[in-house]
Symmetry: C2
């Protein structure tokens, strides 16, 4: 296998200078038809492909964008990444993908690696919104960064999900069915998705008045495992809630597992609402009522934000795009048993 041909090989084959080859390939005006056609012929013959590494070197632009999320194997993130990749590729960008495991050190290490690779922009979900190390590092970057559902002190572009309204709607719906003893399982309140869900949840609770309501929040982590253990402990408690909101993208499986382990029926024994919509929510039996938003839009909008900066508007104000949520009611919620009998 011969080495790939370089621009010199093309120049030699076309009997022109390398500069002319470059000019032809980059569509400059000042080239004669004769040279142009000879260059194209040589390119064709040699199957020449410009080396992007060399171009990056020279142009100080790599046409790569880094994407780092907590865990790419979570279906929701897959949808986001897919849409982002699709939106990027038409402009000649390629996506670097990595997962952070929600660990700060990994995140810092990852960001450094991305900077050394001279990526043009970054899409990410930081593991913290107030950690000085991470925030300072991101602020020191001179490239566009868009955060996915995060609210950091720095003024960065972000695509936010309206978990507040979504969760409030979910809680109000449960209240309307007669529930007074409801649990919200979500991640740490130091992270926007957890914080906003808690806000919507507690706000809904105030409608009932303090005396009548027993709304509890468990905000440990967004993981499936913690969803399972929190739900299990809740379900074993003497006064178990009559409804649970699984407030995270990967939490429903854990909650359903716990419900099953306790031999409880949905919605008779317990009502369930998922904080994000998935195949599992749609096809469980009964189907699970869920807070939905468009993950594809989330990815797409993040990319649009980046591209607009990359195309020149580098100095505009930080944009915060809020994506609406919608409560999809299905069969997993009913009036609490006590009330029905």
């Amino acid at each position: 296998m011969a080495e790939s041909p370089t621009i010199r090989d093309v120049a030699r084959a076309a009997k022109v200078a390398v500069g002319s080859v470059s000019r032809v390939l980059n569509g400059h005006k000042s080239v004669s038809d004769d040279v142009r056609s000879r260059v194209f012929k040589a390119v064709e013959k040699l199957k020449y492909e410009p080396d992007r590494v060399a171009q990056s070197m020279r142009l100080r632009v790599t046409k790569t964008i880094a994407c780092a999320t907590r865990d790419i194997s979570i279906p929701g993130f897959g949808n986001i990444v897919k849409a982002a990749e699709e939106a990027l590729r038409d402009d000649g960008y390629t996506l670097f993908l990595a997962h952070t495991d929600e660990r700060k050190e990994r995140e810092i290490e990852l960001l450094r690696a991305f900077m050394r690779r001279r990526v043009d922009a970054i899409i990410m979900t930081t593991s913290s919104e107030d950690d000085v190390d991470v925030c300072r590092q991101i602020e020191s970057f001179d490239i566009p960064v868009v955060l996915l559902d995060r609210d950091v002190p720095a003024s960065l572009d972000s695509v936010l999900i309206d978990h507040y309204r979504g969760t409030r709607a979910a809680a109000e719906y449960l209240i309307s069915l007669g529930h007074t003893h409801v649990a919200l399982l979500t991640g740490r309140s130091t992270l926007r998705p957890g914080r906003e869900r808690i806000r919507g949840f507690t706000e809904a609770a105030t409608q009932l008045g303090k005396r009548k309501s027993n709304f509890i929040v468990r905000s440990q982590s967004f993981s499936k495992e913690s969803a399972f253990s929190e739900a299990s402990s809740l379900l074993s408690s003497s006064s178990r809630p009559t409804a649970i909101i699984a407030g995270g993208m990967a939490m429903l499986p854990g909650v359903l597992q716990a419900v099953r382990a306790h031999g409880l029926r949905i919605p008779d024994d317990i009502s369930i609402i998922a904080g994000s919509d998935t195949d599992l929510a749609a096809l469980a039996t009964p189907a699970i009522t869920a807070v939905r938003w468009s993950e594809a839009n989330e990815g797409r909008l993040a990319v649009e934000l980046l591209l607009s900066r990359l195309k020149g508007e580098r100095r505009r104000e930080a944009s915060r795009i809020m994506l609406p949520t919608e409560l999809i009611t299905r069969g997993s919620c009913a009036a609490p048993l006590a009330r029905r009998s």
Copy 2:
């Protein structure tokens, strides 16, 4: 924001030559302690990070690996990619991710883009095993390529899943329950996963004898949508099967949707087996019997294969690693109704 410092800036700050800086940073022997410490001090002070693009340029190695699968939003692929990324990162590699949408033109375009980026290796699922364009292109590459569950004429490394045994076990299990009218939904037989599943399925059918069995194969595509439409047509037919095997990573949702649309009960009216294990299979009601393999191992082994080539064994024979499958029996299968009554 100042420009990132270069090796020259470090050399100047440490009052040494650029060559010495490079030697220190790359751990060469011939450097005095004095120079070493001065360099490290300067690096620290300037927060210098070597430019990977320049390194790639000089060393002819980019430390990037491309990964292209049909659709990254399919949970199974997420698991594979996650494991692969984890295995790569320790060696300083970063992953380029793209999806092919199972379209040949996209695939070719993608491969070209990857080559122009001078990726060191490629992990992929080709959309075809016999297409001359794609195969010839891949063969022309001088870099390691590992195929995920594909069998192309060229001698490439591959990680294969034992769908043959998995599907045969699934079909035999259904036979043991008394089913004689079973349908396999899977993708085109020109692709290994479809082909092997069909092989296992038909081989199991022969045990029953031609007269007694009514085993039908629908091999259109692996997509959820086609699973839905094929299952729907099957379920509406006058002689509908008593069991369906959803033989693809994303097909179970489509099949369950169809079953639900027809108001059928699992396993009373119809038995279901999933061709790959997911949260949905584990947590549906009833839980769905599934053919399982370790997607994490699939990703990990693919990377091991690549790294071993990258570390020198470039000329060894192509390896074909076969990953075992296992039938996880859950509650979605029962004897067919006719037989029970």
